[in-house]
């Protein structure tokens, strides 16, 4: 469904953020992208929807090759990819509803979006999504009145209302407390499951990633270091990705937490 062919990004500063990454994501697969800060996780995700222009390589979304699209075609392609951001990236001075409906901007004309007169089907879908994440009552609140977890839920609605085939998720839990982090991860994975969406989730927290995803990719200095099931993340693998550290505690913690979640 999504295929990266030797995707490379070299920034103007000479930093090689991505070094010829090949990756194939089948339909409906949720995968986690782990790796140290600066490994190129964010760049990888942003090169897919071209918020960052890749230097070379190809990105296939279904039958469409994204890196050569012109502006208009790129906008159409972006509708098929929902994005969820670190620190939520809601437009703070807009209401929750405006933020959710902004996910439809690729579909509605300028005049409709300017006057906030969205088609009834879009409005209904926005209400349905807000209800699904438990924020229906907040529809007319301003985004900056919400708590972190609530904001990220709005961010999820904004991505899903695009009716995407793929979710690009950039550190969804980076600024959330441990409990909210899990709830958000669970919500994302549940929604992907319900809708048969593929997702790439950048995540710092290895334990959290192991808890929820089917496949883990390890990135180090812009190159793929690991690709496999979450159970295969051994101390050796983590050392290869992050460098030397005592990993036993991390892995043990995962197992305990896993049980705790199962008990809930």
């Amino acid at each position: 469904m999504l295929r990266l062919e030797s995707l490379t990004k070299t920034y103007k500063t000479g930093d090689k953020a991505l070094q010829s990454v090949d990756l194939e994501v089948p339909e409906g697969q949720v995968l986690a992208l782990i790796g140290p800060s600066g490994a190129g996780k964010s760049t990888l995700i942003r090169c897919i929807n071209r918020l960052v222009e890749p230097t070379s390589g190809k990105v296939w979304l279904g039958e469409t090759e994204l890196t050569t699209l012109n502006q208009r075609a790129l906008r159409r392609a972006r509708r098929r990819m929902g994005m969820i951001f670190q620190e939520y990236a809601l437009v703070e001075r807009l209401t929750v509803m405006e933020n959710v409906l902004s996910g439809r901007l690729g579909y509605v004309g300028f005049w409709r979006s300017l006057t906030r007169r969205y088609p009834q089907s879009d409005v209904d879908e926005a209400f349905r999504l807000l209800d699904r994440v438990g924020l229906l009552a907040m529809a007319d609140k301003r985004a900056d009145e919400l708590s972190g977890g609530q904001r990220q839920r709005v961010g999820i609605c904004r991505a899903l209302i695009q009716n995407p085939e793929l979710l690009l998720v950039d550190e969804p839990t980076a600024s959330l407390d441990p409990k909210t982090s899990r709830q958000i991860m669970r919500l994302i994975c549940e929604l992907c499951d319900e809708r048969g969406l593929a997702a790439i989730i950048n995540i710092h927290d290895v334990a959290l990633a192991q808890m929820f995803v089917q496949r883990v990719i390890g990135l180090r200095t812009g190159a793929m270091e690991f690709d496999g099931a979450p159970e295969k993340l051994t101390p050796e693998v983590l050392t290869a990705i992050y460098g030397e550290e005592d990993w036993e505690a991390t892995i043990r913690k995962v197992e305990e937490e896993g049980e705790e979640v199962a008990a809930q």
Binding site: N49, M83, E92, G103, F110, R158
Partner: protein
């Protein structure tokens, strides 16, 4: 536990040297002779500069009398004897202010967008920054003198001057606010497949709107005050009435006009404060 102890042992000697040493914030200018030379040089220059200003004390003594008259006029401002002129001047000034502000702000917004490096392509950026630079380089009075020469005496020249000055002021500050906006919020809108106009409307506008409104109110305030000055060079408005009053030594009428200007500026200040508080 042992690893920590080893860690401290490593830095032990270096730390030992530093313990008991005085610590002061590092000086901005490190070389002491340069620091002192600059300081003393500045003071000497200041004294010399003040000494070169010639003061004709005899003239000051004469002038004190006229100054006192002028100040005393504020105790008996005369609103009535030139009431008609004052009213006409005020109306003209207000029309000039409102028209120039509306036109100036309307033109400033696209130029402000173009002058923001993070959203405009380089050629557009350079052109818009050029317009801003020209508008800011030419002081209002100079523009007014030029425009009075072209369009003749009257409020048209004043209106055009203030519109022109508004562009330089508002575009620059709007552009700077856009450049300081949160990039990720705008990026999120872009990622949904929004067009450029939609992106500006959803991703940029909400972020800069409070500042745009605040600056516009401030500019209306400035434009009104400027309209009083522009009259002095013949560009219409209350300034023309004020100038005439001075020429005729009618200090009580002049005082009345100044009081009115002060009241209106204060009212505008209060109004803009209220509006800004509401749109945060």
């Amino acid at each position: 536990m042992t690893t920590f102890a080893e860690g401290t042992l490593h830095t032990h000697r270096e730390l030992d040297d530093m313990l008991g040493q005085r610590w002061r914030k590092p000086r901005f200018i490190k070389r002491p002779w340069l620091r002192w030379a600059l300081g003393i040089g500045f003071i000497v220059y200041m004294i010399a500069a003040v000494l070169t200003v010639e003061v004709n004390w005899a003239r000051v003594y004469e002038g004190l009398d006229r100054g006192a008259q002028f100040v005393l006029a504020f105790t008996s401002p005369d609103f009535t004897s030139r009431g008609g002129d004052i009213w006409d001047g005020m109306v003209e000034s207000i029309i000039m202010t409102v028209a120039a502000s509306v036109v100036g702000i309307a033109i400033s917004i696209p130029i402000g967008l173009g002058a923001a490096r993070n959203i405009a392509p380089l050629p557009v950026y350079l052109i818009c920054r050029g317009i801003v630079a020209i508008s800011r380089a030419l002081q209002e009075i100079i523009v007014a003198i030029l425009l009075v020469a072209i369009f003749g005496f009257g409020p048209l020249a004043g209106f055009l001057t203030l519109s022109f000055a508004t562009i330089g002021f508002l575009s620059k500050l709007l552009a700077e606010d856009i450049e300081a906006m949160d990039r990720v919020q705008a990026e999120a809108i872009k990622a949904s497949g929004a067009s450029w106009m939609q992106w500006i409307n959803y991703g940029v506008q909400p972020q800069v709107m409070p500042r745009l409104i605040g600056l516009s109110m401030y500019r209306i305030d400035i434009n009104f005050r400027e309209s009083a000055i522009l009259g002095l060079v013949g560009a219409g408005g209350i300034g023309a009435t004020l100038n005439t009053a001075f020429d005729r030594y009618e200090y009580d009428t002049a005082a009345a006009i100044l009081i009115l200007i002060i009241v209106i500026v204060m009212a505008l200040e209060y109004l803009s404060g209220m509006i800004r508080a509401r749109v945060q």
